[in-house]
Amino acid sequence: MTTGALPVNFDFVPALPEIALLVGACVVLLVDLVLPETRRSWSYWLTQLVVVSTAWLSLYVFHEAPAHTFGNTFIADTLADVLKFLSCVTVALTLAYSRSYLAARGLFRGETFALMMFALLGMMVMISANHFLLLYLGLELMSLSLYAMIALQRDSGQAVEAAMKYFVLGALASGLLLYGMSMIYGATGTLDVARVATTVFAGGVNKTMLAFGLVFVVSAIAFKLGAVPYHMWLPDVYEGAPTAMTLFVGSAPKLAAFGFMTRLLVGSLAAMAFDWQGMLLILSLLSMIAGNVIAISQTNIKRMLAYSTIANMGYMLMGFLAANINGYSAAMFYTITYVMTTLVSFGMVLLLSRAGFEADQLDDFKGLNQRSPWYAFLMLLTMFSLAGIPPTVGFYAKFAVIEAAVDVGLVWLAVVAVMASLIGAFYYLRIVKLMYFDDPVDDAPLEARSDTRVLLSINGLALLLLGIFPQWLLGMCVVALTRSY
């Protein structure tokens, strides 16, 4: 190897969003240091500016054909651009919804914003990873930021306990992932996502060793998604974390997890599809049933939504395990719409909370219609969407994944999915009943910043609009995945 010219390509343009975000995060960190306590909102707006610019940059560098840089460790394709854009928008919305909540709990600090941006950077690294090392580093960057964000409310025993559980189990999952990756490396001799794929396709690879590694990798993915039986951390973390952090953990990282799963299972191990299909099948089946059944007995809405997350990840996996473009697109559509729905549902919990009061019980939603018909209507849309009732977008999302499963002959799985969905409808509709037919127990006026109100309304109405016109989003998912794989 010569020391003169660089032996690898260093094109910085495809990585512009990441670079901008990293620089922006450091700037916010430094600016926040010199700002007086009364000017804290400046760091907030600066953070929003950075996140929104990153979203814009992800579209600005839009790639129709995959581009590689940094010695093939970085890939930028349509899928990456779309997922990055959506992650940025999700984080921007999360920030907007949680502003008052954070301010009321002493969490409206520069560190919160910086950690959120670093978590976002971790997600983007995962989405654009073309190397197993990057997948792992992105995952760690995101997870470490999330652990710290949850523990930031350090005077709350519940939050610290949640962070601790998340940290210990997350470390275990990372260990599984690394072990699996080392097995895949042992079988193929490379960690490059695309080269693993070509090596496996070429044959002559120790398939047993590969499958052995695959088990650990899929376990780690299941843990990150919160699929049964790797779901135990999820309800505790969702319930214990401050609601703003729950919203963060429950929204954008799901998009990154989808990107992670696609890069790993489709990008590098598509030839092993037969093996991982079976594993995902079990995860999907158990998640749909366990998530929906256990959610019924919850009285805490954060915990209930946590079990709903588990069930929803089961549906998403059902689309994914079809292992064809239609299945992947259905899973992507499901993930995107699920993240949008989560934003509204947790946004509403944040909106009902105020200083010294957490609206985390189902009873706190009683009589919401009398207190504010508009918010009750938005929450109704959200619950209908989660339950999969037309014309909301949740119906089309479920329809798409079920169709994908039926297309590959898994009719029985589709039947189970529909049954589980019927069970799930019970607890979603119970909230609608509480809002419209019960008397309020809490008469405090609902105060929200006007920007939060407008964004939440647009977000809620989008669930309805996308339900009526799902084609363009579904079409975008198909195009993104077809161009990439």
Binding site: F70, L115, L133, L137, F212
Partner: protein
């Protein structure tokens, strides 16, 4: 006579034994010291693989810095180890069952003879004077520059998290600010309370 395999097996045996003692030792200070031994053995194996730089870095960084820090923390923290040990014992049946089950499952796959490592040629030994450090450096700043940067960002996040979670702004500075002293108004210092006069019962 080739002595390398013998050295490898000695190091490997010591490594496995030390690693077992790390988790089974009842005294955390002993655990930390066993961990030092296991690091040394791992460094020895790396030396056999001609990865001198990594071996030296492992000893210097982990044994020299991280483990010393670790021992400090173990000794400074006031943790009730007797209580922890009791809890540990109560988890042993469940943990051991799961562990042994996983071990058997993995052994079924591994021992079946399917698991022979790829039969590629053994890499030739490096020539004398070959610099391991130089090769690593070249790779680290070219092919792996991007992962290297991201790892740096992870360390930055660790610093931010550690400070944000443990730092409670101390108010120790008694610095005077003349500007604020001059600007002070009567209303900042003096509060006139409007209290109703108490009735004299006598």
């Amino acid at each position: 006579m080739n002595i390398e395999p013998a050295v490898f097996y000695v190091f490997a045996a010591v490594l496995v034994f030390a690693a077992l003692r790390v988790i089974s030792s009842s005294n955390p200070v002993h655990s930390a010291l066993w961990l030092v031994l296991s690091f040394f053995s791992a460094a020895g194996i790396w030396l056999l693989l001609q990865a001198e730089f990594l071996a030296i870095a492992l000893v210097l960084v982990y044994v020299g810095a991280v483990m010393v820090l670790f021992l400090f923390v173990v000794m400074m923290l006031d943790v009730n180890f007797a209580k922890m040990r009791e809890q540990f014992k109560s988890y042993i049946p469940v943990g051991a069952t799961v562990g042994i089950l996983i071990l058997i499952e993995m052994a079924l796959v591994l021992v079946g003879g399917y698991f022979a490592p790829p039969t590629g040629a053994v890499p030739a030994a490096a020539a004398a004077g070959y610099s391991n450090t130089r090769a690593l450096g070249l790779l680290l700043y070219t092919d792996y520059a991007y992962p290297f940067e991201i790892a740096a960002v992870i360390l930055l996040v660790a610093i931010i998290a550690a400070i944000a979670l443990t730092h409670r702004a101390p108010r120790t500075s008694k610095r005077q600010d003349p500007g604020r002293q001059v600007r002070v108004r009567r209303s900042d210092r003096l509060r006139v309370l409007d209290m109703p006069a108490e009735k004299n019962e006598h």
